[in-house]
């Protein structure tokens, strides 16, 4: 839809300015943010919008990355074909995994996808001659036209990819499918009675999320220059799930916040460790601790994550401007856009935020 295209164009322009102004290393990090935003947006759709908890997003990223790696090592297809194959294969795997997943809920689904996150990378270890073993597969980043810095060029590709993915997902969540995703999350019986094919809806969400992960994995391979199992450990899947919740489950804008946190958190925690003269063993693991703490704080303060908190602050400001703070627990009208009203099943629903000014005026 037009609105999403315009937003995408504005974002692309903003990123163009940003990447042109910063160093090559920071270009790399901006590219990483775009990569994680793709993976998180897919996961956010699956878990936040459709209510299926998945610890397997990292595994689907591995599938995307290895598809790219294998194709680059053994064939000479254009990069676009490799990347599309990565999306297609991980999407197909998502379809296959999504089918039994329709019968599982909450922790059981988390358990099943956990096995995926643990097991899939082992396949690459087992068939190490084909998948490159510990060294992994070497991936060549695309050659930029003219004198553009290769790192900057790759970042641009990743950013454009992320923007395209987010536009597509925004279209999808605003369509009847988005409604079906949320309806199935909230009440499967009512969804079925309204003519929504519950199982098919769940499988669709799984496939879309896995396709996103596949693209993110392929991009990650390009960024790092090598694909090996170490990159796709269980920690990655857990990071992704936590980053998605941090950014705001079910929110596509929240995926960007989550991605920013995921990219910068390790650096921040390392500098914290250094400033306190903690050992390198502590420094390496501090990221997990800090991440856990941040997650707890965000869930307590803003159950809908960073994006939910920003939305709440915005409505709060609007209602102050629009004449007084409404009574606590006032009805919560839905806002336009992709802000979720519900939350993923394991997280308590947010306290009803203040009603925005426009509805107060309408009601009185």
């Amino acid at each position: 839809m037009l609105r999403h295209l315009l937003l995408g164009a504005v974002a692309a322009f903003g990123f163009y300015i940003l990447t042109s102004a910063i160093s090559s290393f920071n270009d790399f990090r901006v590219g990483e943010i775009a990569v994680y935003a793709i993976a998180l947006a897919g996961l956010s759709l699956l878990t936040g919008t459709n209510g299926q908890i998945s610890l397997g997003q990292g595994a689907f990223m591995a599938v995307g990355a290895y598809t790219l790696g294998v194709l680059m090592t053994h064939t000479h297809l254009p990069l676009v074909v490799d990347v599309l194959a990565a999306i297609g294969l991980s999407g197909a795997l998502g379809l296959v995994v999504g089918m039994p997943a329709t019968r599982l809920k909450g922790p059981y689904l988390a358990g099943m996808t956990l096995i995926l996150a643990l097991g899939l990378p082992r396949i690459a270890d087992k068939y190490s001659t084909f998948f490159g073993g510990d060294q992994g597969l070497t991936v060549n980043s695309p050659t930029p036209p003219g004198t553009i810095d290769p790192q900057r060029w790759l970042s641009w590709i990743e950013i454009v990819g992320a923007i395209v993915v987010l536009i597509l997902l925004a279209n999808l969540t605003r369509s009847r499918f988005g409604r079906s995703f949320r309806a199935v999350r909230d009440d499967e019986i009512a969804a079925g009675l309204s003519g929504i094919h519950v199982a098919r809806t769940k499988v669709l969400a799984f496939t879309v999320a896995a396709s996103c992960a596949g693209l993110a994995g392929a991009f990650l391979g390009l960024s790092v220059g090598v694909v090996n199992t170490g990159e796709f450990s269980l920690t990655l899947s857990i990071y992704l799930l936590a980053g998605m919740v941090l950014g705001g489950a079910g929110s596509l804008v929240g995926a960007w916040w989550g991605a920013i946190v995921l990219v910068f958190m390790p650096g921040w925690s390392t500098s914290i460790a250094n400033s306190f003269n903690l050992g390198s063993a502590v420094g390496a693991n501090l990221a997990l601790v800090v991440f856990g703490l941040v997650l707890i704080v965000v869930i307590m303060a803003a159950p809908m994550g960073i994006q939910g908190g920003i939305g709440w602050l915005g409505r709060r400001a609007l209602s102050l401007v629009g004449g007084g703070v409404p009574a606590p627990g006032a009805p919560t009208p839905r806002q336009e856009g992709n802000e979720p009203v519900g939350s993923i099943p394991s997280i308590p629903p947010p306290a009803a935020p203040a009603a925005p000014a426009r509805n107060i005026r309408e009601q009185s």
């Binding site: 279209n171 003519g195 009203v341």
Partner: protein, 277 residues
């Protein structure tokens, strides 16, 4: 009403039996809802009313017997096929999706009428947005009819129960059903709201037949053409509301043996006796 009914227009439940383990929830239940007819299913708690609905909706498969709608077998169909057949159901309670606004809840009820594929939805193609506009417009009309259009963008959880009930009803009607199954539509409503509901049910007749499960005898008596009384999974009486309320077996089922003498006073007596569903 009994065995060997014609498999013609409308809903026909023929000799349906359901048991859960050793417990017979329905035994040889038969009933028919002809087009334009309002049929009420009444009976004490645990009589099998909701099980009957669940069988018709495909949540429960019958062990024996058949269910047909307009001559088509519908037992063993999945619930999501119902709206395509023209059957919509409201749930006990409201069963609204709290993550969707009121109007989105109603729009989702029109699922059976949508044809947009995933690809055109992803790309936000004209076809997809045209269908959305159409759904939104139709849902808006229904909200207007139910006088709840001012709540269109609200979260249903935050609204009064009566508004939620209307939203649920609007969602069911969004599918443009020819048969509407109402599971306790009056529960939690005030006297005035119940009167509105009975007007609505009577109005619905022109477009759809209605099968309703209800404890409030006033509503049942004022809206239904025919009643089917269930007790312990069996049809113990059927007929017009007047016939049924005069039936001593019905009084016994509801109130026990002592109160036979109450006769036609059953109506109000039974509603207080069984309203705590």
């Amino acid at each position: 009403m009994t065995a060997g009914l014609s498999q013609g227009a409308g809903l026909t439940v023929d000799e349906v039996s359901v048991s859960f383990g050793g417990l017979a929830a329905l035994s040889d239940v038969s009933l028919q809802v002809r087009p334009g007819e309002v049929v009420g299913v009444i009976g004490p708690n645990g009589a099998g009313k909701t099980t009957l609905f669940n069988v018709v909706c495909g949540f429960v498969n019958p062990q024996s017997g058949t269910i047909t709608y307009n001559g088509q077998r519908i037992d063993r169909r999945k619930p999501h096929h119902l709206t395509q057949l023209g059957i919509a159901r409201t749930l006990q309670g409201v069963g609204l999706w709290n993550g969707l606004s009121v109007i989105e809840n109603v729009m989702a009820g029109g699922q059976a009428k949508t044809h947009t594929g995933v690809a055109s939805a992803l790309l936000g193609l004209w076809r997809s947005s045209r269908e959305e506009t159409h759904l939104r417009q139709r849902a808006g009309e229904l909200l207007h009819e139910f006088e709840i259009e001012q709540f269109a963008d609200w979260n249903p959880k935050a609204l009064p129960y009566a508004v939620q009930k209307r939203t649920a009803m609007a969602r069911a009607l969004m599918a443009e059903p020819t048969l509407l199954l109402l599971d306790e539509p009056a529960s939690g409503l005030s006297k005035g709201e119940m009167d509105e509901l009975s007007h609505l049910v009577i109005e619905l007749r022109s477009s759809a037949s209605v099968l309703l499960v209800e404890h409030h005898m006033d509503l049942v008596m004022s809206t239904c053409d025919r009643l089917v009384v269930l007790n312990f999974g069996q049809v113990i009486a059927h007929g017009t509301p007047a016939e049924v309320s005069a039936n001593p077996e019905v009084t016994t089922a509801y109130l026990g043996n002592e109160v036979h003498a109450m006769g036609t006073g059953t109506g109000t007596g039974a509603s207080t006796g069984a309203s705590d569903a």
